[in-house]
Symmetry: C2
Subunit: 393 residues, 2 copies
Amino acid sequence: MSSAYFLFTIDAECPHSWARAGTIQTPHGTICTPIFMPVGTQATVKSVSPEELRAAGVQIILANTYHLMLRPGSELIASLGGLHSFMHWDGPILTDSGGFQVFSLGHLRKLSEEGAAFKSHLDGSAHLLTPESVMHIEAELGADIILPLDICAAYPCSPSEAKEAMERTHRWAERALETKKCYRPEQTLFGIVQGAFEPELREQSANFMGNLPFPGLSIGGLSVGEPKQMMWDILHYTTPALPRNKARHLLGVGSPEDLVIGVGLGMDMFDCALPTRVARHGGLFTPDGRVNIKSARFRTERGPVQEGCDCYTCQNYSAAYVHHLARTEEQLYYRLGSMHNIRFMLRLASQLREAIIAGSYPAFRDEFMARYIPASEAVREVQREKWQATRRN
Amino acid sequence: MSSAYFLFTIDAECPHSWARAGTIQTPHGTICTPIFMPVGTQATVKSVSPEELRAAGVQIILANTYHLMLRPGSELIASLGGLHSFMHWDGPILTDSGGFQVFSLGHLRKLSEEGAAFKSHLDGSAHLLTPESVMHIEAELGADIILPLDICAAYPCSPSEAKEAMERTHRWAERALETKKCYRPEQTLFGIVQGAFEPELREQSANFMGNLPFPGLSIGGLSVGEPKQMMWDILHYTTPALPRNKARHLLGVGSPEDLVIGVGLGMDMFDCALPTRVARHGGLFTPDGRVNIKSARFRTERGPVQEGCDCYTCQNYSAAYVHHLARTEEQLYYRLGSMHNIRFMLRLASQLREAIIAGSYPAFRDEFMARYIPASEAVREVQREKWQATRRN
């Protein structure tokens, strides 16, 4: 799907799953999918510099509208040349709508058809987010891809709550599209599919959003506390209803296993704070699963955290040193741990892309999962049903 | 003063002060003096990578024996190839003796002629540091320049306490020299001059240490709570008694102004955690004094923290962004702030060197001080007496 400022093309499709490899062109550069987007909540991917992100293979990052509108303010960022210039990152950026953060505020927010009124978690000041004001704020931030205000239903919720949230999300999407026309054409607005954990609603939402003139669609409302199997089930119902030619973003997901499975279920873009957050707590990814670098077994380990890893950390430091920094809570640890996990996610995305192009995605997925999350073959057989998708579209 | 592994040569001397520019050769590279050494207490200069230190002009760093012997342990560091390899820094390293930290433990330590018994601040475990054991530990750490166990008298202290601490420091220096013969010849042991704030003791200690076969001397026991003028007074008594041909290290000092004044009082090497510590709290150095980047006046500042500064931070980010990161307590702030102050100190050291070689050190000093710490001309006149040294050696 294309505009003068956004072009998504499919480079290859897996014949045995819904996985596809694609290319997205944006004003700040090209993105090869599947892709993982690190999260830079406050206009910084915690502890890591833009040059280091680039070196780790990062192609696009996500920043949070809610945090930035409150501090330092979108107007200030606009006056300083926008988010790219402000944070010294000249690659593509995606901003979310702030909706998810506002709805997480609980009693501090109040929803109406107009929008979401809330009190800042920082100073209690009152704010109102509407589909229209979000377009204004995101125009000031200046990301390449922007999202409209949506409603993420709570988990669990009743079918009627799910329906209500979805229908309002649909109405807000239309308002956002209308408002967007008045703002910067070089920004591309994605739609957000909701529907909670109701298969019919998901299908309905995918159809509705798919028919609006969005060049890409984010799948929202998942990874909000439900079991992983349930997320995968919902994607089984959602993906077939999505237009093939629109980029698909699985919002707020995920872990290495989410990336591997999500790709097979037809997703192109992923974002999550998890890889950097778990790194800061000592959890580092390896092909054999997540390890805790603070564990005593690394105290004397002269090899890298992950043998053969091409990240800055593994190329330059022993696991014993990383362990020492983590145990002494040294700030350099947060950098080294975050850089390793970010590189792990980006390398994984690139390996998935290669496997899709080579036609070997299902084998890659099964080998990765068997090594990353060991399970008996019987369990694996059951899981595989969840991972495998019959081509329905 | 030279050995096969250490050579200090004087490149230029200021005709109007005791300032000199020199070159130190070590097994891990050459150092141009005057030099500032950032402190890497736990085998890391907090938040900054070795590559970034190098890019900021850092030539040698200091690491703390006390912290490293307790965690991860000097034996472990030795088994991993020594401190250089452990922390991925291939330039020169100086390790202190641990004495200062042990004496700061207060009631947790007990001094005797044998050494200093203490309980670890981490787990209460009992340890004994002796002049001999410190040589063993520092050999395991493997720094290029090492210091012997000394006693830093408290401030204030009685003349008899000062004398006792100094005399024991002298006896321990002789024991350290004797023991050092059994260890790695590529490491160079400096002597430590003590004497608290007693001019005759300082002169006596400088003479005593200067006559022992140390290729360099550290001036200890200063910047321990006394007024700055008192430290400068003490250097007036110490420096003339130091051999001209030995490198001089002002231990645990200092700030930008300490560097500028200390150089004129004959010091070649400086180390201090202050530049990185104040940076972490928002204090950034500029030629016009220290500013607090968290202050509201930087909120909309589109220029760099310091106009014309060649550090990574000033070259790539607006003061407004650095302000935002500092206010949101983002980890990237600690990096950007630390890198700015480190580069400021290293550039200042290099400017001092150039001024000494050009014969313009006194003018450089007066201009720097008038701008960095504004004072009336009357006050400045009085201060200048403290800064100026009549050549007595």
